[in-house]
C-alpha cells in the first residue's frame, strides 16, 4: 500500500514539471526506439530524411493551422486548397508560364483563398467551421473543373526539383519547412501580432476591449493559413510530379491532428509551433515506421487514430490539472 502512494506522488510531481514539448519529445524518443528494434532499416540518416520529406507538407500547412487554432477558429479547407493549387500550377506550366511565375501565381491563389475565408468569417459573421466547410467544397470543385477531372503531368524539371531535389544532402522541402518554422516561431514569440493571436484565443471579448483589432487579426491568420497551405500544395505537386484534383484529400484532418498532438488547444489560446513541429514529426515517423514493419494500410489508420486519441486525452489531463491545482 505505502509504496504505491509514494509512487503516485512522484509521478505527480514529475508530471507537473514536464512541459508539453518535453512530454512529446520523450514520446517521440520511445517511438523511435521501438521502431529501431522492429526494423533494421529504420535508424538511418536516409530514413530520417525520408520522414522529413514526408512530413514537410503537413508541417508547412500546420503553421497556418496552428495560428488559426490559437485564435479559437478552425480551417478545414486547407486540403482542398492544396489540391486546387496543385492543379492550378500544373495548368500554368502546361500553358507555358515559366515555372517560377507559376509558383508565385499559385502562392497568390493560396493567399487570396485564405483571405476569402477570413473575410467570410469576420464580415459575414459565419462560424469558421461552417465557412471553411463550404469553401472546402468550392475549392475542391474548382480543382476538378480546372482540369476536367483528369490529372495533369508536370514536366518542368525546375519545378520538380522543389519536391525531389536536395541541398547539402537534405531535401529542399525540409529546408523550406525549417525556414518557415524559424520565421513563424519568431513571429509568434516576438511580434505584437503574435501576442494578439494568443489574446484573441484566450478571450476575444476582453481583447477587443483592450484595443486589439480582432477582425483584422483573424483575417490575417486565415490569410497566412492560405499561404502555408498554398506552399504545401505546391510542394505536394512537385513531389508527385503532377497536379491531381483529388490531392490533399483528408489532409486538413492530418494537419489539425498534428497540431493538437503538439499541444495546441482546439478552444484557442494555448499551444505553439514547436509543439506542432514535433506533432508532425511524430505522425510522419509513425507512418514511416509502420510501412517499414509492413503493417497493412488499414491498421496504420487505426494506429494513427489511437495515437491522436492518446494525445488529446493527455491534453485534457493537463487542462484538468490546471482547473484543479
Amino acid at each position: 500500500m505505502i509504496p504505491e502512494v509514494k509512487l503516485s506522488q512522484i509521478g505527480l510531481s514529475i508530471k507537473k514539471k514536464m512541459t508539453t514539448e518535453l512530454t512529446l519529445l520523450i514520446g517521440y524518443f520511445i517511438l523511435c526506439t521501438f521502431f529501431s528494434f522492429m526494423s533494421p532499416y529504420f535508424f538511418s540518416l536516409n530514413n530520417f530524411l525520408n520522414i522529413g520529406l514526408y512530413g514537410s507538407i503537413v508541417g508547412i500547412a500546420g503553421i497556418g493551422m496552428t495560428m488559426v487554432l490559437l485564435t479559437g477558429n478552425i480551417d478545414v479547407s486547407v486540403g482542398a486548397l492544396m489540391g486546387l493549387i496543385g492543379v492550378s500550377v500544373a495548368s500554368f506550366i502546361e500553358m507555358g508560364v515559366p515555372f517560377a511565375a507559376s509558383i508565385i501565381l499559385g502562392i497568390s491563389i493560396g493567399i487570396a483563398c485564405g483571405l476569402l475565408n477570413g473575410l467570410i468569417i469576420t464580415r459575414m459573421r459565419i462560424n469558421a467551421l461552417i465557412a471553411t466547410l463550404s469553401t472546402m467544397a468550392i475549392f475542391r470543385g474548382l480543382a476538378f473543373v480546372l482540369c476536367g477531372g483528369l490529372s495533369k503531368i508536370i514536366t518542368s524539371d525546375g519545378y520538380r526539383w522543389y519536391g525531389r531535389g536536395y541541398i547539402l544532402g537534405v531535401p529542399v522541402c525540409v529546408w523550406i519547412m525549417v525556414i518557415f518554422y524559424g520565421i513563424f516561431i519568431y513571429i509568434l514569440r516576438n511580434t505584437k501580432f503574435g501576442r494578439r493571436v494568443y489574446a484573441i484565443g484566450g478571450n476575444s471579448k476582453a481583447s477587443y476591449l483592450s484595443g486589439v483589432n480582432v477582425k483584422n487579426t483573424v483575417i490575417s491568420v486565415f490569410t497566412l493559413a492560405g499561404l502555408t497551405a498554398g506552399i504545401g500544395g505546391i510542394l505536394m505537386a512537385a513531389q508527385t510530379g503532377s497536379g491531381l484534383p483529388s490531392a490533399g484529400q483528408g489532409m486538413e484532418m492530418e494537419v489539425i491532428a498534428a497540431a493538437v498532438l503538439g499541444g495546441t488547444s482546439l478552444s484557442g489560446g494555448k499551444g505553439n509551433l514547436v509543439g506542432t513541429l514535433i506533432g508532425v514529426m511524430m505522425m510522419a515517423t509513425l507512418g514511416n515506421g509502420m510501412v517499414l514493419m509492413n503493417v497493412p494500410a488499414f491498421y496504420q489508420q487505426i494506429a494513427k487514430g489511437v495515437v491522436l486519441l492518446i494525445a488529446v486525452f493527455m491534453d485534457s489531463l493537463r487542462s484538468r490539472d490546471l482547473d484543479e491545482a
Binding site: 505584437k192 494568443y198 489574446a199 478571450n203 476582453a206 481583447s207 483592450s210 484595443g211 486589439v212 491545482a325
Partner: protein, 498 residues
C-alpha cells in the same frame, strides 16, 4: 447558535511553491452566519473550495457533525449537505428556473416516469415562498438578473436539504435593494437551522449579517470574533495587520480646462446625456441597476455606438466606433465584468498588463520583452499584486489581484480620460484604499476620471461632481459639497430635489 456542524482542522494547501493555506481551523455552528474576511489572496476561496472538494487538500481534517469525512467529488459534498455558491454561477441559461432547481431530481409520475412539469413548478413556487423569493419559476434562467440567479441557486441548495450554505462574494455584483433581499433569504435559512458561511469585502454588510467573523491573513488564522464584541476598525486592523489611516484620500485641488464634452448623447438605453469633464476632475456617475450607467461607459469607450448627439475631446469633435479608436484618442476603460470583459485567463500577468499599451508602444511591430517585464514588475509593486512571478497565468491569482492587474493595464496606457466601471468590486479594504489613492494621484497630475459605480460611499467620497441617471436619462448633477446619500438615492429613483 446551536452545536458545531462543521469543523475544519489544520487545513493546509500549497500551489506549487505558494502556500495558500497554512494550518487553518474553522468551526461552524448551526443557525449562525459566519463571515470569512481577509485581503485579496488571503485564501478564503481556496478554503471553501477545499470544503466542497473542488481542490484536494494537502493536509488537515474535515468533520461534519463530529464525524470525519473524505469527499472525493463535489457531488459527495452536496450529498452530505454542503452547497457552495461561487461568484461565477453555473446555471443552464435556456432552461426554466424550475428546471434548473430540480435538475436531475425532477418529480416524475406514471409508469413511464414522465416528468411532472406541473408539480415541478408548484414545488418551486412553494419553495420560493418558504424562503421569501419572488421569482416566477417558469421564466428562463437567462432572463434573470445576477441577483435573481443567485437566489435561485440558493433555493436549489435549500431544495437539496442543504444544511451548510457557503457563498463566495455573492453581493459584489448586487445593488442595495438586491442585497437586502438576499439577506432576507439568508436570515430565513438561518432561522430554519442552517449554517452559513459568507464572504464579502464590504464591511457594512459583514457587520449586518454576521454572527461571528473569522479573519484570514496570508493563509493563516488571525482570529475569530463575535460581532457584538468588535468594530469595523478592529476587523480592518486584523485583516491588513496594521492600522489603516485613511480610506478615502480625496483632497481638494483646482480642476483645469475642459477636456471632454458630451452633448445630448443618445444610444440604445440612454437618452440626451450631456456633461462636461475637466482636466484633473473625477466625475461620478451614479444610478440604480438598469439606469444605463454601464451603458454610458461603453458608449464613451466606443464599444456601443451612439445614434444622436456629439462628443468633443479637447474641443474637437470625435466619432470613434471601436475601442481601438477610443484608445488611440487616449480613452481607457476598466470594465465591470472582470471575468468576461477583463482578463485573458490563460495569459500571464505580464501579458495581461501590457495588452492595451502594446498598440502604442515602440517599436511598432515587435515586442520588447525586457521592457514588458519592467512594466509588469512596476505595477506589481505599486498595486501590490500578489503573485510570486509575473509570468504566472492570471487565472491563478485571487479575484482581487486579477482586478488590480486589469487596472494596471489601463494606467500603463497613461490615458487622458480614464473610465472606471465598478473598479473596486471584489477588492479588499487595503487595496481599495490604494486604488483610491491612485485615482487621486492620477487626477492631481491632470488626468480625468469618470467613475461609474453603484457604491454610494465610494462615489460620494471620490467625485468632484456626480451625474445621476434614472431610466437612461439624466436626473440631476450634484456638486461634491452638496451631495449626500439621501439626495443621491432620491435622484436615482427618479425624484426631484426641492
Amino acid at each position: 447558535m446551536g452545536e458545531v456542524v462543521l469543523s475544519m482542522k489544520h487545513i493546509t494547501k500549497r500551489f506549487n511553491n505558494v502556500v495558500a493555506l497554512d494550518d487553518v481551523n474553522l468551526e461552524l455552528y448551526s443557525s449562525e452566519v459566519l463571515c470569512l474576511l481577509g485581503e485579496n489572496g488571503a485564501g478564503k476561496s481556496t478554503l471553501l473550495k477545499i470544503l466542497s472538494a473542488a481542490y484536494k487538500r494537502d493536509g488537515g481534517i474535515i468533520e461534519i457533525d463530529g464525524k470525519e469525512v473524505h469527499f472525493k467529488t463535489t457531488r459527495q459534498a452536496i450529498e452530505s449537505g454542503i452547497a457552495v455558491i461561487y461568484q461565477e454561477l453555473n446555471e443552464i441559461p435556456d432552461l426554466t428556473v424550475a428546471e434548473n432547481i430540480y435538475l436531475e431530481r425532477q418529480p416524475v409520475r406514471g409508469p413511464l416516469k414522465r416528468i411532472d412539469w406541473q408539480r415541478m413548478v408548484k414545488d418551486a413556487e412553494a419553495l420560493f415562498s418558504e424562503i421569501g423569493i419572488d421569482i416566477d419559476p417558469r421564466r428562463r434562467m437567462k432572463e434573470l438578473s445576477v441577483a435573481e440567479k443567485q437566489m435561485t441557486e440558493i433555493a436549489k441548495a435549500v431544495a437539496q436539504n442543504i444544511r451548510i450554505l457557503v457563498t463566495d462574494e455573492p453581493t459584489s455584483a448586487l445593488s442595495e435593494a438586491e442585497v437586502n433581499k438576499l439577506f432576507g433569504v439568508i436570515d430565513r435559512i438561518k432561522r430554519m437551522g442552517g449554517a452559513i458561511i459568507f464572504i464579502s469585502h464590504r464591511l457594512d454588510e459583514v457587520m449586518r449579517i454576521s454572527d461571528r467573523i473569522m479573519v484570514l491573513r496570508d493563509g493563516k488564522n488571525v482570529g475569530v470574533v463575535k460581532k457584538e464584541e468588535t468594530s469595523e476598525e478592529e476587523i480592518v486592523t486584523m485583516m491588513v495587520g496594521r492600522k489603516l489611516v485613511e480610506m478615502f484620500p480625496r483632497r481638494r485641488h483646482e480642476v483645469g480646462n475642459m477636456l471632454l464634452e458630451a452633448e445630448k448623447l443618445t444610444a440604445k438605453g440612454i437618452q440626451d446625456i450631456s456633461f462636461q469633464l475637466h482636466k484633473g476632475e473625477i466625475l461620478g456617475v451614479f444610478g440604480l441597476m438598469g439606469s444605463g450607467i454601464q451603458k454610458l461607459g461603453t458608449v464613451l469607450f466606443g464599444k456601443d455606438k451612439w445614434i444622436r448627439g456629439h462628443l468633443r475631446l479637447n474641443g474637437k469633435p470625435v466619432n470613434y466606433s471601436s475601442p481601438c479608436e477610443a484608445i488611440a484618442q487616449g480613452v481607457a476603460f476598466v470594465p465591470s465584468e472582470r471575468k468576461i470583459d477583463g482578463i485573458i485567463a490563460c495569459m500571464s500577468v505580464k501579458e495581461n498588463i501590457v495588452l492595451a499599451s502594446m498598440t502604442q508602444s515602440k517599436p511598432r511591430f515587435l515586442l520588447n520583452h525586457s521592457c514588458d517585464r519592467m512594466i509588469a514588475e512596476k505595477w506589481k509593486e505599486r498595486l501590490r499584486i500578489k503573485t510570486p512571478d509575473i509570468r504566472n497565468a492570471i487565472c491563478n491569482l485571487s479575484g482581487g489581484n486579477q482586478q488590480k492587474t486589469v487596472i494596471s493595464r489601463w494606467l500603463e496606457m497613461n490615458p487622458e480620460v480614464l473610465i472606471l466601471a465598478e473598479p473596486t468590486r471584489g477588492i479588499d479594504v487595503g487595496a481599495k484604499a490604494e486604488i483610491y489613492e491612485l485615482m487621486e494621484e492620477y487626477a492631481r497630475s491632470g488626468g480625468s476620471v469618470i467613475l461609474i459605480t453603484s457604491e454610494m460611499r465610494e462615489i460620494l467620497e471620490m467625485s468632484d461632481r456626480i451625474l445621476v441617471l434614472h431610466d437612461g436619462e439624466m436626473n440631476g448633477v450634484l456638486v461634491r459639497s452638496e451631495a449626500d446619500e439621501e439626495k443621491l438615492l432620491l435622484l436615482a429613483m427618479g425624484g426631484t430635489l426641492l
